[in-house]
Chain length 194, copies 2
Amino acid sequence: MKRSKNRKDEIYAVAASLFRKQGYVASTMRDIAELVGIEASSLYSHIKSKEEILITICTTCAEEFDEGMQRIKDSNLSNPDKIDALIDLHLDIAYNKPSSVTVFDDEWRHLPEKELKSFLKKRNAYEANFKSILKDGMEKGEFVTLSDSTAFHLIINCVKWVHYYSKRISKDRFDSKRSDIKSFISRGLFSKMN
Amino acid sequence: MKRSKNRKDEIYAVAASLFRKQGYVASTMRDIAELVGIEASSLYSHIKSKEEILITICTTCAEEFDEGMQRIKDSNLSNPDKIDALIDLHLDIAYNKPSSVTVFDDEWRHLPEKELKSFLKKRNAYEANFKSILKDGMEKGEFVTLSDSTAFHLIINCVKWVHYYSKRISKDRFDSKRSDIKSFISRGLFSKMN
DNA sequence: TACCTTTGCGAACAATCATTCGTTTTGCTT
DNA sequence: AAGCAAAACGAATGATTGTTCGCAAAGGTA
């Protein structure tokens, strides 16, 4: 039960990177096993099923976003600062767990029915919170006025591509990219900033 | 050879929407056949293989982007107007062929080796053309200065989400969304416009 | 009507999938 | 060294996959 934990984590990590590269369905247990260096049947000494791997990756990631959203939402930051903090939340998770977050973004539809349902529920709640910050800010004249749904998707997608295209880069280069992204969104959202 | 063409097109259309919904690997020939209303084996009277369907969808879409890029690149529009035209190109394709473009975006990695290679070649060429317009515009002071790679990804991703989240909407509602997106990008890129 | 091509069918194929099973090896604790 | 639980194995299972095959409707043309 000591080394077991390590193997388990190793399997999750290997699976996440494989799911990112090939997709969940196209990744076989034999693929995962080979990367870990054991036989496919041996995986089952550590994990319950292929689905369980996907569930764990997705829910772990979801919790991370949820905690961040809760923290930011309940803070006493201004609406623009809340959006700024949310952007940082996304970028930090993308930098630290690029594989997990890609699986979270792209492979959630292969979750089994029960987990899929609660996943979508959380996702909708997250989106609603995000939009309500935007809406409040627009009403107070802090943001440019546009459809809150469109604004939400624009911001999210300005932030979402980072973990796809970039190989692991240095923190410095990442932070330079971060500032480019942030100022782009700021101009798009505030119109008067530089 | 008369009705054959219709069936063939119907199969491609059904497959594209199924690939969009479930992904290429998770979509079986039996799934496609059932939606068409025939047996799986009957599909092979019209198409050669499952892979051929994916290849056709992806290359058809790629050609559409290529033609647009060629036309815009060779025009005598200003750099900002070229970017504006490219945004329209993406939005129009997304509106007219949401299924195909989603498959093009997400399932290309399952192309067989040969087609994958030429796909990535075209994709890189497209990206290079896009960036070179941005770079030229930055040097002339027409755009805000930032990494051309980051600018490229930001623009593309501001435009890419449309075909994911929206069910078929009216042209009017789409054009309203279009103007929200365009002005967001304009502010992000030009900083001085409204 | 007779002919021929297109379209569809159902059974069958080999390949591959996730998973289970009983057994053996490993490595730690006593 | 003995004992024991965790970890790994190889073989096997049933299900599902894309695809093939020989054959039957269908439907237009002569």
